[in-house]
Symmetry: D2
């Protein structure tokens, strides 16, 4: 989609005011033709400290962004074949596609935030196991920081001083799942964990597939990935880092209890709801759980602990995560629920949050937008 006559000047465009005196950061997006790429453009375009220096997408050299993302037709961007010179680069590519390029770029001093999975897992053997490829830069995995600020804020900040700066930005399901249960994990309360997750369709990407057509998806719900969804790897890695000692997530006889994770496709475009069912390691009470969660998240700018089950719509378009915890007195189980917008807190917004931390900017810069409802 093209505008017949673009707006005559930048001032007439609906763009962000950019008041700060400081030097602006030039950023590029590699993989700007997908949904996460478009969302990065939407948010970065209004980021007060950023200039978008380049947008890369394969086979679309020279095309205005409106051809790929009609809602962005009013912005001045054009897609390039090659990565622009930038201070920071966001990668939004399928798995296996960034791991070749990122280490070189990072070695040149460019900050890299990778929205794909190539730098999320620390153990190189997880890549052949879960993603089916040998990681070409296993050494870089040790340096990369898992970009969930609520778990790794200090590491993200300290990246600023490091020679190579690589962030592996979390998957959408792990973001919701980990924020739902992190306080329980840290407190050693998880004896058994079932994550039953529900996602809108945009999580599956923008490539046309028969099972993602409107007629196939609408008025239907189904489970998928039942034979092992790749996001399990991240969830288990991060949970292992949270639990205080071996006594949790382990059977009475010492056998590890792996996390059960079953995702579902919901007839909606955006949003993830992670319902987590936890059998606790000991008796707990509702007030105890509420205190635990309120304390865990009270300083968090983007996590809101709410007093009733949250809805995905109520975080739409924002970087917010809403969390609710409930103790079922009848069964003794804990129910912890989290909702996010999979393309914001589950992708582009979270990547920008990490970018902000890494650059010493206010963590919320460019992410202050309130949710859009109804």
């Amino acid at each position: 989609m093209t505008l017949l006559r673009p707006a005559p000047s930048e001032t007439a465009q609906p763009v962000a005011p950019r008041p700060r005196g400081q030097a602006r950061i030039r950023v590029a997006v590699v993989g700007a033709s997908g949904y996460a790429g478009a969302e990065l453009v939407r948010l970065l375009h209004r980021h007060p400290d950023v200039d978008i220096a380049g947008l890369t997408a394969r086979n679309r050299d020279g095309k205005p962004i409106g051809d790929e993302h009609p809602h962005l037709a009013g912005t001045p961007y054009v897609l390039d074949a090659t990565v622009a010179q930038a201070d920071a680069v966001f990668f939004a590519l399928p798995h296996g596609a960034s791991s070749e390029q990122v280490p070189t770029l990072a070695a040149d001093g460019v900050a890299v935030i990778d929205l794909g999975p190539d730098f999320r897992l620390h153990d190189p053997t997880d890549y052949p196991r879960w993603y089916g490829f040998e990681h070409p830069a296993p050494a870089a995995l040790a340096d990369a920081v898992y970009g969930l600020p609520e778990l790794h804020r200090d590491e993200l900040r300290s990246l600023a001083a490091r020679p190579t700066r690589i962030v592996g930005s979390p998957g959408c399901y792990p973001t919701a799942s980990l924020l739902a249960v992190a306080p329980l994990a840290r407190a050693g309360l998880i004896a058994d964990l079932v994550i039953d997750a529900k996602s809108g369709v945009s999580g599956a990407g923008s490539e046309p597939r028969p099972e993602l057509s409107f007629s196939a998806v609408n008025e239907s719900v189904r489970a998928y990935g039942t034979k092992g969804h790749r996001h399990v790897a991240e969830i288990e890695q991060e949970l292992a880092g949270l639990v205080p000692h071996a006594a949790t997530l382990v059977d009475a006889d010492g056998v590890a209890r792996d996390v059960t994770f079953v995702p579902h496709l919901i007839p909606m475009t955006r949003g993830i709801l992670a319902t987590t069912h936890i059998r606790p390691t000991r008796r707990v009470t509702q007030p105890e759980l509420e205190e635990l969660y309120a304390e865990a998240y009270e300083q968090e700018p983007f996590v809101q602990v709410v007093d009733s089950p949250p809805e995905t719509k109520h975080v739409l378009g924002s970087n917010l995560c809403r969390v609710h915890v409930h103790h079922d007195d009848r069964t003794g189980r804990i129910l912890a629920i989290a909702v996010i917008d999979n393309l914001v807190k589950g992708a582009a917004g979270q990547a920008i949050q990490a970018f902000n931390l890494l650059h010493g900017l206010p963590e919320t810069a460019g992410l202050e937008q309130l949710p859009l409802a109804p």
Copy 2:
């Protein structure tokens, strides 16, 4: 909605052929203004052995059915204030509303199929606990049959010879949940059970409520009933009847493990998907599970065991239930999934299935319609 000029004769109407010579059964529906009532009319109108003798709805005396259910405006029915004389009566009322009327009617020899919860639970103390009312006819509870044909077919058939004939037709969630796990329960394989269920909006009934408006529901998903959904009572009652001995659904130390049940509202009109997560009492294999399920359901006209996760859309408008079972080798858990149309197999269709059994008719009479997709 009214037709300007109704079709001149019954033969010009799109009605069912009614070939059989036998005496036809006169049926009435009490509560015909709700969704389940409309669905009963849709299906009974085409039932080869049935005449609809009366449709009752409070405050709608004399109104043509098209005023309440515009899609049925082409049928000749009018709503009454009083129950018509009938051989069989379907009740589709809110909880507590049928228990006063049903025993008298049943004592008069009328077969009653109650789609509400008033005759589902055998233990009278469950009514104050789960539904907040004292059951006015506790003696009738012992006689009533829980109308899930896949679990109680012989009892439903033998009702024919009994002086009072009352069927408590199952709730929509219990139907899907029980059909998902019944083979495991019978085999004593359930050590721990989490039911994470997803329902379309029609399950909440047709009364307007802010949280069920299109703008509230669309593009959103949420859990609800987290403090204890009433359908748990049925699920636990029926599971207790299935498990072979005390060793199942019980902790190592003998403590009962109650069923965890969390329902979710999905932005779709019809359909229930019950995802059940089971920790088995012993090691099992995928072939063993498939054999167990195939055998359990191979004679069932309406239960189909499928080789991949089923979708609600693929049973839409039909009385089918599709079930899928999967053993996760990594975690050792079993995943069992069932889908139904909540208004057919979860309500009106299942009630007619029980009605057929009770009257010695072919079990599938009036229910042969294939699913409507896409």
Copy 3:
């Protein structure tokens, strides 16, 4: 999708009773992998006088139908590469694909109902103009009957006695549009006609395309085909046959006023609503219009004239068309609205209706299903 163990016998399957003694008609469907093909199977499977002798789909030889249409996995059909021997064949192919095969088949005495456009237009020059191909069998166009029973019932019936029997089954938009305005056209009342049509996504077929993905369609509405939709050709052809003399659809100065037709894509799966805006040739009144419509359709088994604007949902899954007419006293314009299920009355159902007429069967055979709502 495959059933682990199919039902042991046909009687256990939810299939139609087939009571009639008469010889059954063997039918085949060419193009059974698309939506219209699936809908033909759904309806023909329950048709009391029909046996499905073969289902053809390119590149799917030997595949069970459940692989293509999961909701039909419980039926016994397998897709073939070649057309089965049959008494009647339904074609459900893209334009240009049936015109080579149909004449030969029809010359062999097979009745052909073509759901594609290849036999809808009588003027061969319309094919290069609207569809971009030279019709390979222009002679056959004169023999083919436009299969809208409400306009051509006698011709369809008389086909039975003809040596070649070819029905060009109408497009979905023309069906709704023509039924909306036919009484006005016949009465010479149309001075100027704007058809603003709204369609669900299934009308665009089952091939995956980026603009038909759930994420693209949901929560959006748009016009398309603004440069000339092919269905205009049918609409104008049939309207020309209806208007009594040259004075209608013609300017005061004798210049023909072509029909304006603009279709829109609506975020729903099924359904067409045709809103037609008519400037009448003379003053009319609401009672006059209601009488005109009631009389026009009072003998029609599938057309219902209703007293308020109809909704697509209220004909879902049925062969019904609902029509509403309104005179705007302020502007003098007439508003005529029609709704259908695009895959039933707009495709498979209408084709079966014509098939019934052509074979001297009751017109409603196999089409008695009531609409599915909510």
Copy 4:
């Protein structure tokens, strides 16, 4: 919905930076419990020159805003029963509710932007005719400015210097309809106008009604308001102000041709698409039309003329209006289409745009947000 523990400080909240030194404008919203009210809060909360001084809603005194609008639960606002002292007040009330209060308030020097219809129409006799009430302050109607900046920018700006400042902010349908055809009207090109409009459900407000429930709306489309929608009054008033002389919108014989306007309800939450069908007063060409539109809107910050039919989704959440014009060479008609987000450019956003003009602020202040897609 309530947060368990609100964020400790404003800086931790995801709020807008407010950099400007100038005095901030205190605004209040009357009617903050509806959708337009919520949208005003969403946008004003991030407006760089505004402080929200009060939010009023009947029967909700003292309730936190999250109780009414869960997505805003993270903001600090509480609903009041009385109007706060403010420099400017936005009214978002049903028709007839603001006309009593506004004149007094305006006489006290408060700027009023009324999102309801009470100050849109200049002719007092239009109120009993279209809205069924006698306007209590007919004198104020002469002073009020119709708040469509694209038609009345100078008047809105000049309000600043006037003693009473009242803006009647346009209805959602008139906004889309007028922006679609304004260039044609100004050029005297409209001989005949049919507006066929499509709206999402949020346009009907947040009060629960059976016909707006999810189950009623989803998978359905219907026309409504066919007996005369109130928005016609605005459309005709503004068109009359645009047409250059009596020769347009008038028959050959001098009779006024009233505007035909038929709205439809679409199964989506937000968005309006106005499809306008115009018979021109003389022959035109596509290049001529494109030039006409490009020129008309080239200085507009929020109107984008695009080269293909626009989709509602591509302006979601933004204050943009996209317009497309097409000449049908076959019929000679013009097709002009406009899309807006009914709650932004059709309500809250447009009101803020007028507010900005009235206060001499940059017209785009607080409205720079890009659309949210997919």
